[in-house]
Structure formats: C-alpha cells, structure tokens
C-alpha cells in the first residue's frame, strides 16, 4: 500500500507542479489539493494514465469564514483499490469551475446538484435547469449563510406548542414530586 501511494504521489507531483499531497490516512485514501485550473487535466491524467476509472462523488464544502467553496472530486481505482480525493478551493462570490463531463458523463448529475445546492457554476453545463428543488426562489440552500430555520419560519405555518409544556422536566418533577438531579439542571430551558 505504501509503495503504491508513494508511486501515485511521485507521478502526480512530477506532472502537476501545483499539486500538494496530504497523506495522513493509514488506509487506502490519498488527498491532493490543486488549483482550480488543473482540475480537468489532473482528473484526465488520473483516469487515463493511472487507472482511476471510477468517479465516486463530487462534493462541496462551504468555508464561510475564509470566503471559499471547496469542491472535492473522489475517484476510485478498482485495480489498486485506492481512492483519491482531489480538492480545489474557489471563490465563494464567483464560484466558477470547469465542466468535467467530457471525462465522465455521469459527472453531469453531480454538477447539477452542486449548482442547485451550493451555487457552483460549471462552464457549459448540459441541462442547467432545475434538478431536485422545484420552484426554488431563495439562495442555494446548502450554503452555510442560508438560515433554514428563519426561512421555514417565514414560509410555512408552525403549530404553536402547548403553554403548559414549556419546561417538560419541571412539569413532570412537580407532578410526581421528584427532585431534578444536579447534572440535569444545566440542560434546563
């Protein structure tokens, strides 16, 4: 496993100058952090030259404090039984990334999902219309600055709760004459 990983790291670093590896897992996982311009070429290289023929997932992480979105491509090699995470950071206010559906056709589905849930724009996306959310008019809902509770509060009706059950623990202890233990008091509402 170690020689395999070292081999992959050496080959990737020889071909892509901006790739930084992150090899801190002792199982079959390997991470690479690259610039966003390198994404199509590194994925093409991994697929065609190194046997990572299976695209497992495209995911996204919202780094709100740093103003960046991190897009993660997970590829898998059935021959070597190793998965490689290719990560890239893009600007949160202008999240544009190269389309990779000429490498894997099925990437289109993930790209449409990322466009809808995180607002990541892929250049030349096939079928860019709505995917899962119907009639959605708000901001992309998986971004961390989207407050779902506030949105639900102003969009949907909420059934008001019972007035006598505001503090359930206290109500029960009063009714049954039990004492609330000290460790439970800090959870009181």
């Amino acid at each position: 496993m170690k020689e395999l990983k070292d081999n992959i790291i050496n080959r990737i670093k020889a071909n892509f100058k901006d790739a930084t590896e992150k090899n801190d897992y002792n199982y079959n996982r390997l991470d690479f952090i690259v610039n966003k311009e390198t994404i199509p070429s590194i994925l093409f290289y991994l697929k065609d030259e190194m046997g990572f023929i299976h695209l497992s997932h495209i995911s996204c992480v919202d780094w709100l404090e740093e103003g960046e979105l991190e897009v993660v491509f997970i590829v898998w090699s059935p021959k070597d039984k190793i998965k490689v995470f290719v990560k890239t950071r893009i600007d949160r206010n202008n999240p544009v990334l190269d389309n990779i559906d000429m490498i894997w056709r099925q990437a289109n589905t993930y790209e449409r999902e990322l466009k809808e849930m995180f607002g990541v724009q892929f250049t030349g996306l096939v079928a860019p219309e709505e995917f899962i959310l119907e009639d959605w008019q708000g901001p992309p809902p998986f971004r961390r600055d989207f407050d779902t509770a506030e949105y639900a509060e102003k969009t949907f009706w909420h059934r008001p709760g019972r007035e006598d059950a505001k503090n359930v623990r206290e109500t029960i202890s009063n009714r049954d004459g039990e004492e609330i233990p000290d460790f439970a008091k800090k959870y009181e509402r």
Binding site: E134, P141, A152, T155, W157, H158, R159
Partner: protein, 181 residues
C-alpha cells in the same frame, strides 16, 4: 316518505356502516412512514381483517395516507392525487411530521402543518407509529365514519378557496388542472 328525516337517518346509518368496513388505502407513500405499511398489511398485523386493503389508483381509493414528511414538491402531487379521488375520501396524517413538522421543524423544504393544505380526518402521532398505532388510527377513522363525523372532503369542497390560497402561497408556479367536481 322518502324525504322523511328519519328515513334519511336510516339511509345514512347504513351508508356509513358499509363505508366503514371497506377502507381502501391508496398505495402511495410520501416519507419514511411508508415502511410501516407493509407490516400493517401483511400477515403479522393483517389489517385486511378490518377491511383495510391497498388500492392501486387514486380513483379506486378511499383513504389517502400521508406517511411522514411532505416536501413542497410532493405536496403538489399529493394535491393532484387527492383531487382525483372519488367520494367518499378521507385523509390520515401519519407521524409527527404531518402534525408539527417533527424533526423537520426547521427544514426549508417540508411543510409543517398538514391541515392547512388538506383536510385531515385522523392524525396518528409517533415517529414512527408502530403498526398497532396505525391500526388504532384506522379504527378511530372507522368510528368517525360510522358516526358520520369524517367530513373532511365536504369541508374541503366548501372551503376550497381558503385551501387553494394556502397551497398557492407555497407553490408559486401553479400549473395544475382544476378538477370540476
């Protein structure tokens, strides 16, 4: 004689009695609650002994089970299904999600209170309600039908504008056919 109030009462009694013993449930599940329906229908809890069985299409069914959370997208389909159903028709809200949102109380895409959008005859609480609770809900519905109190469909027809306004408030792109029943 036929317009006599007492004879109408007898007709209603017989009608309700027959209706309550053949509850056909539309085979349609919206949330995770649909997983409790197979054990309810099959041999262990065998709800067919009470006359409760599945129906394939909305036009053959009497009861619409809303099993669990209901997204805005699914609500569109549920409204269409409900309006295609023939009289008599009843709605059972199933699980705490239909009552107050349940664990999806702050979700951006699920409705919290079902009876603003569809007339609910019986609620079954619990997350998830077990098959015993489901059968108990059906028995409650049978009791209400027998007493002639399960009048959700009538209520929906009379207050259609109120329900429509509520539905259109969260479904901005309304492209549904109007059923003229």
């Amino acid at each position: 004689m036929y317009n006599d109030k007492n004879s109408q009462k007898i007709v209603d009694y017989i009608q309700n009695w027959t209706r309550k013993h053949s509850i056909w449930v539309l085979a349609y599940g919206t949330g995770c609650g649909a997983i409790e329906i197979p054990p309810t229908m099959t041999s262990r809890y065998d709800s067919e002994r009470l006359g409760i069985r599945g129906a394939a299409t909305p036009r053959q069914a009497d009861v619409l089970l809303i099993t669990g959370y209901l997204t805005v997208k699914t609500l569109k389909r549920v409204i269409r299904v409900y309006e295609q159903m023939q009289d008599p028709k009843y709605v059972i809200g199933f699980g705490s999600c239909t009552i107050n949102g349940g664990m999806y109380f702050d979700s951006y895409n699920t409705i919290k209170v079902l009876d603003k959008y569809l007339p609910v005859d019986v609620y079954i609480n619990g997350c998830m309600p077990r098959p015993e609770a489901v059968i108990d809900g059906f028995v409650k519905l049978q009791k209400r039908i027998g007493e002639g109190r399960a009048t959700g469909a009538k209520h929906y027809k009379e207050n259609l504008e109120w329900y429509r306004a509520n539905q259109k408030k969260i479904i901005p792109n309304w492209v549904m056919p109007e059923y003229n029943w």
